[in-house]
Symmetry: C2
Subunit: 234 residues, 2 copies
Amino acid sequence: MAKFTKTDNCKNCIDCNKKIPLFQLLSKAELTELNTSRYEVKFKAGETIFKQGTSATHLLILTSGLAKFYVEGVQEKQLIIRIIKPWEIVGQASLYFDNRHHYSIAALDDCTACFIEIGSFKKMIRQNPSFAEDFITQCTQKGVFSYEKMVSLSQKQMHGRIADGILYLSKKIYESNKFSLHLSRQDIADLTGMSKDSAIRILKEFHHEGIIELDGKNLNVLNVEQLERISETG
Amino acid sequence: MAKFTKTDNCKNCIDCNKKIPLFQLLSKAELTELNTSRYEVKFKAGETIFKQGTSATHLLILTSGLAKFYVEGVQEKQLIIRIIKPWEIVGQASLYFDNRHHYSIAALDDCTACFIEIGSFKKMIRQNPSFAEDFITQCTQKGVFSYEKMVSLSQKQMHGRIADGILYLSKKIYESNKFSLHLSRQDIADLTGMSKDSAIRILKEFHHEGIIELDGKNLNVLNVEQLERISETG
DNA sequence: AATACAAATCGACATTTGTCAACAAAAAAC
DNA sequence: GTTTTTTGTTGACAAATGTCGATTTGTATT
């Protein structure tokens, strides 16, 4: 079980101000108010942070570590929608809907998570229009991202989907061509909607063709352009 | 080309009040203000209402007819995300993002469309917190819908996807077990992420098994429970 | 009614993808 | 350091799905 601990990552919401663009729109008084309702918990790699179907009372912000955001599909299969990085606000989907988590989140790494009570967050939305606007912007961006993901999952063949997955990790998550993966092969399969065996096969193929260099968890993208070409042609 | 016409469907935004829940949160003054920036256009079946990639200056509300909301994927293929009915507000995704349409909308039927200028809509969001909240609710609902769609597209086999498609049309769009389809077989394929030939095959199969009755465009869902079972098992 | 054209249908076949079993490698537990 | 367990890897095969061409049906036009 996760330990309930105060950490040094984020002593106070007023500090978060610097890390989270959305919070820069809040006054010091508002940040102080958010701070009173927040608490922080540490999770070990593999632990579940949010479980699909449970009730949603708090929003989540990671202050360290990485997590996977996934939905539980048919026959125990997971579909990883995206990877969660520090300073991203997670939980919008449940905010005004039915107060249920419609997805699960699990730590890929040792994580520190800050939880913000939904009520106080909603209050900010009501009283601070700029905050509301920025929040809506984030929701709509996620919408566009979803459409692209649907196209990838439903219209591209395995090579295209793996290319999309690698490009996503490289550009959006690790922001580097060379990185040490937090995902297992099964996770990569769940991210790209295929069987683990197929994911391994395509990764190996890319490796042999010199598009990537993959040794265990160490991934090095050698030819971004070709990955992008594969992504576009499907 | 679409004719620019005033119609009787929606003479005034103040009437829309009755049809669109979101608009019930607006004061008469606010509705009047929205009304000044709106205009109405008729589209014939097949015409494009929004084209992916063009700039988004207005939100759309159908006052009559049906339309398909789709993204243009790889190799000219379309992925139909959902069907648009009258009194639903469309265009959120572009509102605060980059003012581009990230999807296309085409009339499936003769349609009457009401266009609301984005600026005046944004003003309502800033000045009316309840309006903003309700709007956010809609965005988050769409998010949850997207996750379910991704699971359907990526984890279910053709039978499950066709079942999902039929259930969606029956429950959400036509709100009846028996209806006259506005979609072509190709559209059904684009909605469920498969080839036209495969869609036809599965539909025929369902027909022969007595799950549905399908004659041309006339669809009658005979066994909802079985469709739901097929949807769940994938 | 005759024609033209698009949509729907179907079977045969090719390709893609998943499954399974066996094994190797790595990590965790002892 | 050894054992156990998990994770990764591979090939052979089976199942799912797409493609193609031929044919039929339906719809619009003359």
